[in-house]
């Protein structure tokens, strides 16, 4: 802590509360409050009711939750595989090659995601690879969008990985594939799970590219929230949003538990 006096510390906490609460916590609290309301015309919402939640966990909403979870799990696993592979390959390249790889993977992040959505839509709307109208086009777009983060996070971990481990393993007679499987990947596991968690969270919340692509039978939760609020069902939308938050946080919590068990140093 930079602040040493007791009163100074209280002041710092006060300032933090003043800035943090309105900026970060309040909007979320408003959504939670709205999810329990029947209508909201004065300073406080009226209610409370659990009817919005009853609607949020059945029928179309439940299906959207499943769709979101399946999409996010599939996209983050794909992104993790592709990103890790690319990061491992890039580690053997020279500086210029590494930069090129980094730039290539960051491209979908730098480009607005609506554009990525449109690009994927145009590219896969015709044979030979006709994905338009299927759920896999959503998974594909999400994978393209989140791979950058998997690649970045694993690349950073590989740089920190002491080459002495790989060399010790090789000197003991281990083939490169054996070294990768038994030494490098286990040592990278904490970063891999962190990357998976990040990709999952990003995919769960993706809206703009998804809007360009989603077929009627593959509507993820953010789209459901958007359409609900767009139709004026603000309180049902809020309840669905809270379900989305809770589901994402639960999965991240589970992932973080794997991470703590996987960190050795």
């Amino acid at each position: 802590m930079l602040v040493h006096s007791k009163s100074g510390r209280w002041a710092a906490w006060g300032l933090f509360g003043l800035l943090f609460l309105p900026l970060f916590a309040l909007p979320l609290l408003v959504v939670v409050a709205a999810s329990f309301s029947t209508h909201w015309s004065g300073a406080f919402p009226s209610g409370p009711t659990t009817e919005n939640y009853a609607a949020a966990v059945r029928g179309e909403s439940l299906q959207a939750l499943t769709t979101s979870l399946v999409t996010a799990v599939a996209a983050s696993l794909l992104a993790l595989a592709v990103g890790t592979w690319a990061a491992l390959a890039a580690a053997t390249l020279k500086k210029r090659g590494k930069r090129l790889m980094d730039a290539l993977f960051m491209l979908p992040v730098a480009v607005p995601s609506v554009v990525v959505g449109l690009a994927v839509l145009v590219a896969f709307s015709r044979p030979p690879v006709l994905l338009n109208g299927t759920g896999s086009i959503v998974v594909l777009a999400h994978t393209v969008l989140v791979t950058a983060f998997a690649h970045q996070s694993v690349s950073a971990a590989i740089v920190r990985l002491d080459p002495a481990y790989e060399q010790a393993a090789a000197s003991l007679g281990a083939r490169p594939a054996y070294v990768l499987w038994r030494v490098e990947l286990p040592l990278l596991l904490p970063s891999l799970t962190a990357a998976a968690g990040l990709c999952f969270a990003l995919s769960m919340g993706e809206l703009s590219a998804t809007m360009m692509l989603y077929p009627p039978d593959w509507m993820p939760l953010p789209v459901r929230i958007f359409t609900a609020t767009d139709r004026g069902s603000l309180f049902t939308g809020s309840a669905v949003a809270v379900v989305l938050m809770a589901a994402t946080l639960l999965v991240l919590l589970a992932v973080s538990r794997v991470r703590t068990r996987a960190s050795y140093r």
């Binding site: 060399q167 010790a168 393993a169 000197s171 003991l172 140093r265």
Partner: protein, 349 residues
Amino acid sequence: MSGIRFDGVSVAYGGNTVLDSLDLTVEPGEVMALLGPSGSGKTTALRAVAGFVRPVGGRVLIGDRDVTALPPHKRGIGMVVQQYALFPHMRVEDNVAFGLKAQKAPRAEIPGRVAEALEMTGMAAYAGRYPRELSGGQQQRVAIARALAIRPGVLLLDEPLSALDAQLRSGMLAELARLHRELPDVSILYVTHDQVEALTLADRIAVMDRAGLQDCGTPQELYRAPRTEFTASFVGNANLLPVTVAEDGAVFEGRALTLDRGRAAPGSTATLCVRPHLLGLGAGPNALSGTIAEVQWRGSTHRLYVDVGGHRVKADLPELRETPALGDRVTLHFEPRDAVLLGAGVSDG
């Protein structure tokens, strides 16, 4: 049994030569120390044997096999590095078993060989621990056990003791010497910048400096009769004095000294090397008189710095009853057989 041979091995990084055509043979079962300051090329030489650097010229042979183009995992070496590099996610026994599993040793054999290697390094009681639960010295023993478990013909040790404190280091030195007695067939290449480690452990020492081999010989040879000034000053302490070679010895600052000039040509300039502990205080043969510049008490010895004719001479003497004071005039002397002439012109006579 397999030795190691460097056959004109050169290594360069981006035009910068870090090892310049090294020729050196480690006999089967021999302990060869590569001794030199940092940047002398000694670690590069070891890494060329391990396969982690690709020479730009020359060949590396292990036994009779040219391994220059082989990847590290096909070379049949054991290696221990300064930072141990134990796999942090594996228990001690799994670390030691790693090489055996990687090389697909028969499954039934593995536990026995792991136990044997751990027994040999005194780590059998720690088989179930993780590396982070061990001290530095224990980690080093596990690293050695891991390298020995695969029964390598060649063991490469890269500054294995430099991360340990002084007391542990001398204990581990004795351990390494014992291990080598138990495994007389293993050739050991031992990289160090510490002359005590090299003198204690090595059958022969290769002295390296500025990317090349300066000198090579048994510790006794290098200590008693170094061939270069670099060897003289790097292996043990040395007084190096400029002299002119004479018929029956040498002349230092106008003083005639008697010593065996060997094949040095009379009249040529040379460097006289005499070890500080071989100098005596008081009159005697080859007397050097001068004034005391500094006195250091080192417990069992006194180190005197004496200015003789503009040169500072170091003398290590058994603890003195009466310590000379700064500025006192004293006389040092040495036996003719205790001095060596370096870098003189050679005569045919």
